[in-house]
Each structure stands twice: as C-alpha cells, then as structure tokens.
Amino acid sequence: MQISFLGKTLHTPMVLASGVLGNNKAILERVWENGCGLPTMKSIGPAPREGHKNPTVIDLGNGMINAVGLPSPGYLNMDEEWQELSNRGFPVNASIYGGSVDEFVRVAEFVSAKGPDFIELNISCPNSDQHGMIFGVNAKSSHDVVSAVKKVIDVPLIAKLTPAAPNIADIAKACEDAGADAICAINTAGPGMVIDIESRQPVLAFKKGGLSGPMIKPVAVRCVYDIFRAVSIPIIGLGGISTGEDAIEIIMAGATLVGIGTAVRYRGITVFDKVNKEIDQWLAAHDTTMEEIRGAAHKEAL
C-alpha cells in the first residue's frame, strides 16, 4: 500500500527503526525489498564511537533490553556508505546524534549534503550519558536542537522522542514549534536493568538499557495518542509493533507510518511484508481505510 509522507511516496507505511540492522546499502535495500517503505540508518555521531562492551543486547522473550551505546564510524568516516547509497532506488532516513547543539548542527549539515530523504534527530537514546535522551526529556533543549538543525538542512526533519520525558506531548509540541516536520515515537523505554542472580551482576555491561518489543507497546500507544492531540505534523509510531493488529492500534492512536525494530528478532526481515499484508487484510475485513482509522481512538473525545 503506497503512502505519501512529507512529499515522498513510500511503497509501504512501514519504517525500519534506527539502530536495527545498520548502515550499508545492501542491508537497507534488502529491508526495503522486504516491504519496508522507509529504512532508517543507525544513528550517525560526531566522532568515531565503539559503543559499549558486550553484553549489549538481551532477548527477554517479550521484548529486548539493549545498551549498544550508539556505535558510529563518525560522520566524517562514512564516504563508502554514502557513495554506495548515492545511486539507491529507495528512500533513506538518516538518524543523527550529538553531544551538544553545535555537534548536532555540524553532523546534520554534513549529512544533509549527502542526500538522505529525511534526517531524524535522535534526542532520545537512553544508552549514553552524554547524548540522546538528555535532550529529549526537556522541551527547551529539544526546541533548541530542532530549531538549530532545521536552519542548516534542506530535507525534512523528524524528531525521535523518548517515553522517559515527563510529558512527551510537550516535547513534541516544542519540536513542532521549532520546525520539525514529523515526530517519531518512541525510542526504547526505561531504561531498565536485568540482574543475573547467580553472578549477582547486571547482565548488560552498561548495566542499564532501553526496553523494546511487545512489553513496551502500551507505552508507545499512549505516547502516540498524547502526541497526536498536541501536534498537527505526522507521527511515525513505533514501540513493540509486531503484527498488523499492533500497527492498526498505533495508527488509531494517531500514527501515519509504523516503525518496526525488535520484531525483526521475532519475525525476521520479512516482518515488514507480513505486517503490511496484515494491515491490508484487517482494513479489507473491516471495510475501512488507513485515512479513516488514523487517530480513530480520539474521535469520541474530540
């Protein structure tokens, strides 16, 4: 099912969540061929960064906990990736992060010139004490980053938000006011912790990590619901979406596009095609359309 998003036509409403599967053209293309309308790259940082030591990702059965820690070659060291992506036949959303507004601006300006279709600001990752979430939990700092970046890029800007914000709707509104073209919600929840009781140690080397997958879906649905009431820009809804019915639910909360991350673990790379088909089947069975169900959960209250 084709869908129009910020002036681009996507072949499906499915988005690959940032941080999943990586940056090279071959893997992003494979994801796209398997029904993902918009593959998002792993967040690109201001300097080379290895991320945390292992264990970094643990499957808890009903979702994952991870603290990969924003590994990135650094924006100046990705010529090969951009070279390969320059002749792509699919859209790409480039996620970026920084440790200060200046760093965000520097990375954004450079990356924008490499020709991604969208730039996503990661102001929501819980796995670094100097990046990500420290911006996204505060409306003013979110506004500052978005408005500064917006001035130096010429592609649509998507702000990716964290459910750790005290009021995610306020953050979304601040981003919209600062010029964001869309909101992506949510990044991983928590952070949480798992302790191995035999060794009496937190399992993740970073000790704490973001939660994702089915266990956080109600949080994601609530966040998208709140954001939809606060802004008029489109929302990419993600967080625990694994099936067509999950997708329908978050669309009813207000999402225009639907992101998939952890479900790649549970249903493979073909999950995008599967969920897309399940959405179509549900819509057909209920004799309705995407437009009709978007934000439907708000109707009674409005």
Binding site: K53, I58, S199
Partner: protein
C-alpha cells in the same frame, strides 16, 4: 537448559588443555544444537563473545577457546567450578543434506572447532565417506589430532606435521584424484578457517561445480539478527549464517573483502583481522 534468552550461568565441569594456545571448557548442561551453530559466552565483568560449540552430547557441551585476546585469555584461565553465562544456540548451522555419498571437510586452524561436531555427525553407519583436510600454522595449532576416524590429510604452513602447504592444494589434489579414477566426486565441501582460505575453497568448488558451505566470523553483539554489528553485504552473519552456501556466497559482495569494526565502519578484511586479533 541453555536458551536464547537470558544467559544461563553454568559451571565448568572440566577443562581440557590441548596446547599452549587451545583449551576446551566442558559444561554439564543441555542445549538444542546442530553442528555449526554458536553460543554467546559471558564472563561477568569481562565481556561476551560468540563461540561455536565444538563438543556436544545430550547433557554436555564444550567450547574450544584459542587464547588470543583479553577475553579468550581470561576464558582459558578459568578452572572447573567457575561459572560463566551462556545463551544460544544461534545461527543456522551446517546443512548436512540428504543422501550425501562423499563429502570433504576443510579446516584451517581453529576453524576445526565448528566442523568437529559435523564430522562426528557424519561418522555414522550409512554416513558419507568423509575426506578431512586439516591445516594449521604449525603442529601445535592442529586441533583434536586424534578425534576422528575419517580419512585425514594434514598440512602445516611450516611443515612441522604433514604436507607443507595449504589445505586448498590438497582439496584440488583430492578432487582431481577422484576425477582421474572416475569415482563419484564430493557431494559437498564444508569449510571453516581464515576467510581467505574459505574464499579459495569457494573458488575451487565453483570451478569444479561442487557446492560448498563455509562458516563466517564477524564481530557480534546480539547474536540474533537485530543489532547489525555482523552485517556482511546484504547478509546478517549471526542470523542468516554463520554458515553460508555457494548460492548465497555468490551474492555476498563483502565476503572476503570487507568487515565492520566495532564502530560499524566497513574496512578491508586484513584491517579487520588485525583489530580482532588484538
């Protein structure tokens, strides 16, 4: 029971020291396993790394470790009674096929570890004829020298045991011998070792029209196909592999050319190998 979820803390039941470089740690635990699959091994406070299962029984498994870096040196210094965390198995393992009459198993160095349970699985009544070709830098790097009953050809780079030269020379020789004798050739060639060796095996197999399977190594994090650390071209090594067959290898442009550093940066394979061997 070891599963793919939280690491199970298991006690080292026995340690077998093969040589100054190699030791096998055994655990009395059960795991659903097929040859070629791997587990993530966690030493709390140190790190977590992927290791193939080199020994497997109903309630027992073993992993062979080459003491090379920080983690592996720590692993071989552990003693029976010490506990480590294991989660898995991950990956696809070798496809043993149906009705193979003759197979070749080509191992380079520690590449013998994932192939050993495969050889044992083939060493059954009605199993195929197995031609084992095992190579290493020198004699002390030859893993499990007395483990198999299969026909074995040994080679070392320095000539300290067997033929002085490469496993790939022997593979060509064996293929040619079978052909000259008008005997049925290999139905499948299985290989694990340095990537350049596996690439050469693949090239040889392609030129003779023999299908092959090789087991790749990449830096890994999750082990189950999500994080992207081990991506090789369009393939996810931990999930789609680590064993890849000829058909897939033909389409993997990064096979024997590039691998990702921990930052995610793609680099030539020799640069990657230098980093991994630190």
């Amino acid at each position: 029971m070891i599963t793919q979820l939280m690491p199970a803390m298991v006690k080292i039941a026995e340690k077998e020291v093969h040589s100054p470089e190699f030791a096998t740690l055994y655990f009395n635990a059960s795991i659903d396993f097929k040859p070629g699959q791997f587990v993530m091994v966690w030493i709390p406070g140190v790190d977590e790394k992927p290791y193939t299962i080199s020994h497997h029984g109903p309630d027992r498994l073993g992993i062979t470790v080459e003491a090379k870096g920080l983690f592996s040196k720590k692993a071989v210094s552990l003693e029976p009674g010490d506990k480590i965390g294991i989660r898995g198995p991950f990956g696809n393992g070798f496809n043993m096929g149906v009705g193979h009459k003759r197979v070749a198993v080509v191992a380079g160095g520690c590449g013998m570890a994932p192939l050993a349970p495969l050889v044992e699985a083939f060493q059954v009544a009605d199993g195929p004829d197995i031609q084992l070709i095992q190579g290493a830098r020198s004699k002390s790097f030859l893993l499990y020298p007395d483990r198999f009953t299969a026909n074995a050809e040994i080679c070392t780079d320095d000539g300290s045991k067997g033929y002085k030269g490469f496993v790939t020379d022997i593979l060509i020789q064996k293929i040619e011998e079978l052909s000259a004798a008008s005997a049925p050739g290999f139905d499948m060639v299985y290989a694990c070792g340095p990537e350049i060796m596996m690439a050469k095996v693949f090239e040889i197999c392609e030129s003779y029209g023999i299908p092959c399977q090789v087991s790749l190594e990449r830096y890994m994090r999750c082990g189950f196909g999500v994080c992207g650390a081990c991506v090789c071209g369009h393939a996810v090594v931990c999930k789609d592999g680590p064993v890849f067959g000829s058909k897939m290898l033909r389409t993997m442009e990064d096979f024997n050319t590039r691998a990702l550093l921990k930052t995610g940066q793609p680099v030539p394979l020799n640069e990657y190998a230098t980093w991994r061997c630190q």
